[in-house]
Amino acid sequence: MLSAQERAHIAQVWDLIAGHEAPFGAELLLRFPGVWAVLACKGHPPHSPPAPVGLRMLEAVGVAVRHVDNLRAALSPLADLHAHVLRVDPTNFPLLIQCFQVVLASHLQDEFTVEMQAAWDKFLTGIAVVLTEKYR
């Protein structure tokens, strides 16, 4: 459960990302070493993730931001996709969450306060839980 303060931090940071989802997603995938394993399953050649993948991840985070009170319902189609089609190993999520926060920290620097980090770590972990909930 996110407190009012945590929601404010989520929204505040998202305002800075909105409009820049594509470059943010691209940088996220550059930093994430597991991406080749993730994308190999989909038949993509390694070393060239389609730009849309990073963008789609960020758009999904945007959906989550707008439905922070009801992640399960809002992300249900994505949860189905991950469980039945993508079947990305759940252990990839913590590292992806780490890389997401590294992108935030390196761009926001001093503005990425401890309270923001706490809110985003909790929020992204919540998203990962929902996305892997239907795996079995």
Binding site: L30, R31, P33, A105, S106, L108, D110, F112, V114, D121
Partner: protein
């Protein structure tokens, strides 16, 4: 055994030279205690940990953070033999402190985020990768003597 390339070692040492160990230590430990509040269980004697600002301003957190990061400095001087360098600390954390090794991984990740916030653009994907490898190596070395 973890082997670091010359590039990875350079990425680590060049950044480390610019880190203020005292300030960064307090920030890293403080953020660990705020973001993962259950880690506070090991610091009952530290006094006021009741809010993020209390934690970040707590002098015992700062002092202990400095100690932890100073240890990291020793790791950086011994990147080719992390297990040897951390053998004694590993025994201490297992036998005396009873710290779950998962905490070392959490601390390492927080440290990488703090470095990213300090160094901004300079904290490139390659630099991040070198540091993630180092913090994972340190976490494993600290867990090595657990039984």
């Amino acid at each position: 055994m973890v082997l670091f390339t010359a590039e990875e070692k350079a990425a680590v040492t060049s950044l480390w030279g610019k880190v203020n160990v005292e300030e960064a230590g307090g920030e890293v430990l403080g953020r660990l205690l705020v973001v993962y509040p259950w880690t506070q269980r090991f610091f009952d004697s530290f006094g006021n940990l009741s809010s993020p600002s209390a934690i970040m301003g707590n002098p015992k957190v700062k002092a202990h953070g400095k100690k932890v990061l100073t240890s990291f400095g020793d790791a950086i001087k011994n990147m080719d033999n992390l297990k040897g360098a951390f053998a004694k600390l590993s025994e201490l954390h297992c036998d005396k402190l009873h710290v779950d090794p998962e905490n070392f991984r959490l601390l390492g990740n927080v440290m990488v985020i703090v470095l990213a916030s300090h160094f901004g653009r300079d904290f490139t994907p390659d630099v991040q990768a070198a540091w993630q490898k180092l913090v994972a190596g340190v976490a494993n070395a600290l867990a090595h003597k657990y039984h």
